[in-house]
Each structure stands twice: as structure tokens, then as C-alpha cells.
Point group: C2
Amino acid sequence: MGRNRATLADVARRAGLSKTAASMVLNGREGTRLSADAHQRVFAAAEELGYRPNVAARSLRTRKTATIAFVSDIVATTRFAGDLIRGALDAARERDHVLLITETQGDATFEQYAIEAMLDRQVDGVIYAAMATRRLTVPPAILGGPVVLLNATSADDLPCVLPDDDRAGRSVAAALLEHGHRDGIALIGRNRLKEGDPEVSLAAEARLRGIRQALGEAGVTLLAESFCTEWLPEHGYAAMRGLLNRSPRPSAVICMNDRLAFGAYQALGEAGLTVPDDISVISFDDDPIAAWLRPSLATTALPHEQMGRRAVELLLDGAAAGPVLVPMPLRRRRSLAPPAG
Amino acid sequence: MGRNRATLADVARRAGLSKTAASMVLNGREGTRLSADAHQRVFAAAEELGYRPNVAARSLRTRKTATIAFVSDIVATTRFAGDLIRGALDAARERDHVLLITETQGDATFEQYAIEAMLDRQVDGVIYAAMATRRLTVPPAILGGPVVLLNATSADDLPCVLPDDDRAGRSVAAALLEHGHRDGIALIGRNRLKEGDPEVSLAAEARLRGIRQALGEAGVTLLAESFCTEWLPEHGYAAMRGLLNRSPRPSAVICMNDRLAFGAYQALGEAGLTVPDDISVISFDDDPIAAWLRPSLATTALPHEQMGRRAVELLLDGAAAGPVLVPMPLRRRRSLAPPAG
DNA sequence: AGTGGTCGCTAAACTGATTTAGCAGAGCAT
DNA sequence: ATGCTCTGCTAAATCAGTTTAGCGACCACT
């Protein structure tokens, strides 16, 4: 790979100058007293030879690699990981940086290995990302340099980037109130584990808090709350069936994520009920299926791309410790209508 | 990042030996005549100091970085990209390598930039990946070293890894034949652009060919073929509605991907028809929604993780030019049944 | 004439590893 | 005593850059 690349020495020779001079010109060093003519010759030589500096050689001296480590627990299982990475890649490119990506799969051995591999390559900083918003323990090895937590917090006082689930909860509730729903609002996806253990999830508790607060301010309480062991379609399906067996029937349902909502749609379809005429549905995440459902599902979008971007910016611009909350925009879609009758 | 790391010189000093000796011991060089005692002392010193070699320094001399460039057009928009990357990460880790990932977004400027950034960092090889299986043109800059194409082919005679869409087509057709379907099989998702232009898609033509061949061998022809401008749920929905307006009604439908099948399910549900009792459905990709649908959708899985893994293996083990076809396993699920009546 | 300052540039050290060439001492044969 | 080989190790070069320290020429001023 990259054999026969021109070196700085080649450029200098062609320009009839020393390596020192060539280096200074190409780095645009201020305060050197090299003549305009010398500048010209170096630029011309570099251009003609297609010179590109060897980053390894440079970093040996400068201890900067323009490379960022992106360490996450899981990149594959959710569609969102790609957005996190894409945002980070975009911001990195804008700042002439590059991303070294690894996945730990939640395995301590893999994590240790990954972190050593990154540090051996002298990365300038680490983005430590979690795929589910949660609190985690940062491996001490990476605390020697800049670190930003992405979609996570920790006990250490580090800069971190999180989605604003609390406000998303409020906007979801507000959207239903706007449409005139009050006493018929049910919730699908309560989960004691997610709500109680910040190492499992921060989103569940924050979303619930936001929903309750907005409803509370309007003097409304939830008609029913269904508990689910997981936030998957089958659980949303079961929960919705359960709600339909009760009386009165809810006029609207909030699902804790889109996959639950997908399951709820299935149960409603089987029961012969129509969204939104019989029941409104709103949810969280903006998974691609939300737009594909018929009718399309109103939801609050996880701003993953934006978050990935912010993480890189915080890392490179030197961030103050503490959380940055990224807003989750409300996607108004066809699953909302005023309560029937 | 990584300040105060022990250097080889530190290890050598502590072991009372030269850098040369320390280097040889730590690299397990054969044929050196260093004493057992010297070995002991070097290992002990390295251990005590927590020594880890500086990859930049080493690569300056050896021209090996144990780093692979993973350049793709798009990482975010499909859920599958994650799997491709995960497979590549796993295989890379097993071989003590690390992945530098970039995304070109199909933009020539970004691509140029990304490739230069990788080459500047002296990567040992490049995996050039496409998110839709297709033929593409490889930027000449990366041909100076090892390259493997992932989910793509090119005119250059390079090793490449592709899903076996042709065989997937045959197994999809065979699954329907097994269930006794013959003259009632319809196809959703024909698309002249995808079938005709290998730079857009290789999958469409291969899947179609496989289907036709397996049906042909059984003396069966397709009852109907619906064309779609895109392979999205709304197009599957429209196509399915179209098919239901015709007579006779198909007994089974093959969809060119799961998103089309998702749309077909929606149309079937609205028409009051039941899968698989009224109509069987089978498809391609094994998108997560395939398992979430009710009833679960039979499909052939894109083996993306496996493909990512193979690409790294080919790159590092030195591959012969030409394609490696990775099988697409058939997922037998509840959307298949014998024809009604 | 001697001194000092500025201008334009370079030699050499340095980063942390690998690798080549070769040295000192021991043991043995002649 | 000499030459030879073998053992166990090291000095120094090398990779491709950055950075420090400083050199020679020229000019101005006293």
C-alpha cells in the first residue's frame, strides 16, 4: 500500500532547499523568514510529486494522529448505530480527522483489547458510545486523554451527549393533549428494570417522567399502564390486546418505542380497529418502520446523527464536563386524531 | 492520550540489555542467540512497565500498521451496514487488526478525501464496500495495495465478496414448489433499472434468474409480475392491491425484498385476507421486520456479517482474484402454507 | 574598523521502533 | 601461539517527519 510515495526529503531536494524549509512552508509556519520564492518552489515541488505527508512519521514527533477512537458496545443490532457513526464521521471529516471504530460486544476482554489497540495507535481521543442510553463505567485506561461519552453517562465527571428523553416525553404527551385526548390515554411499555436501573436504561425513566409531568400540568392522569418485559413488537401486541379487553377502551396510546407501537398496530388491526379514528398512537425513536406503517406513526426521533456529530465536536473543541442534551424532534404523522365520539 | 508510556528503551534499560535485544525478544525472533536469562529479564521488565509498542514508530520501519481501511458508500441508511461492519470487525480482531472506517456518501470529493486520509495513515489494505450489491469503479489510488470488494464487483480483476442471490432465488422458488404451489405464483418487485444496470444492482437480475430457473425446471411459469419503481413498503402495498384486483388471485407471492413484503402484508390485511391461509408470502433479505410481522415472514437472509468477515480474511490471507459467493440461508417461517382449496 | 541586528536558510537532534553489521570473549584444534 | 568458530550481545543506521539551535551574508550605525 502506498509504495513509492514522495517524501519530504524528495520535495526539499526538488525545491533546492532543506527538509526544514520544506516542512515549515508546507505547515504554513508563521514567523519563518523564508522568501516568497522559496515558498513557491516548495509548493510547486510538492504538487508535482503528489507529496502527502506520512502521518505515522509526523505523529511520532508531534504526538497527534488526527485519529479518534470510536468504541461502542454494539454497532450492529440496532439500525441507529449507523446514524451515530455517520454523524461522527461527518464531523470528523470536517475537522480532518478519521475514525478508528471498534465494538466490544459488552465483553470485558474484547473491550480491554480494543482499548489497547487504540492507545497503541496513539489516538487523539476516545468516544465511548453505548447503543442504549444508559449509565456505564468507563475503563480507566482511556482516562489518560480526552474522552466523550456518547448516549451514556458515568460516575466520572465527563462530557457526554444524550438525547433529551424527558422533553420528548413531554412533547408526546402534549401532542395528545393538543388533539383533545384527556382521560383516555394509556401507556404501553412500563418496565421496572429499565426504569429502575440507570445501567440498563436512562430513557425509560426520563420518558415516563416527561409524560407524567406534561399530563400532570394539564390535570390528567393515565388511564392505564401496561408493563412489558422487553420493548419488542410481540410485547406491544400483547399489551394492546390486554388494553382492548378493558373498559373503557383508551382513546390514545403512548408506546415507549416504535417497535412496541408496531405490535400495537398489529393487535388493533386484528381487532378491526382503525388508527387514528378509533385510537390514536404515538411513540418514541422514529425507527424507519414508523414511516412505513399504515397509517404512518407519529413519534419523537432519536437524533443519533446529531449526537454523533456533537460528540466529535466536544472531543476536538475541548468540552466542559457534563451532559449535552440533544432535542428529539416530534414527527407529526397520521396516527393522531381527536378522540372518537 | 497515552502520555508516560514506557518505551522499548525503558524496557531494555530495566532488563540491563540493549534495545536490539529487547526488540528481538519481544518479537520472538528465531535464530537469535540471546540467553534464556535475557529473555526472562526482558519479559519481566515489559510486564512490570506495562510496555506496549508504539504502532506509529514500528510502522515507520516495517511499513505495516495492522490497520485496514473500510471505505463504503453509505453506512447509515440501511440496517445491514452494521452487520457488514460487525463481521469485518470480528475477523479483524481475530487477526490483531483494526478498522479505519469512512463513508463516501457516493460523493467523489469525499471519496478522494477519504482514500487519501487512509493512505496517509499507511493502511495495509482496503475493503471497498457498497451497500447495495452492484458493480462499481474502483478509484485507481487504492490499487497500489491489497483491495477486496465487499458486496460489489468491478471491471478490474479483484477479489470480491457477494451474496449468492441466484441461489437464493432458486431456494425461494423451491420453497413454494415444496408447499405445492405451481400456477398461482406471482412476483412483486420487477424493476427494469435494477435488473438492467449492474451499476445499480446485481441482486435484482440474479434473484429473478434464480427464481425463473427453479420454476422452469419444474415446468412452472409465473402467474403475474408486478413492476415497482422502488423496493419500499408503499410499492409493495400498491403492487399487492393490483394483484388482488386480477383474477385468478395468486396462491403465493414472491417479493424481491422484505420491505415490499411488508407493504404486501398491509394490502392483504386491508383486503381481509390471511397469510398464509389465503396467500403465502416469501421474500429476500431477512430484515428485522420479517421476524416481527404477524405471521412471521419466510425469507432468505443477506449474510452480511459473514460477508464482512470473509472480506477481511481474503484481504489478510491474500485472495485469488474473482468472486466469493456467500450463501443466503432460507428462513422458513409462518408465511408459507399449501395453496387454499 | 568594529559591533550588532536582521535576513534567509540549514545541520542535527529527536520521536520509538526494527534491522544490519559486527564486536568481544570463550572454547577448540593445529 | 595462532587461527577458527561459536556464543551472546550491542552500536548505529534507518524509517519520515518536526523542531531547536545557529550559521553566514549583508546592512546600518557608531
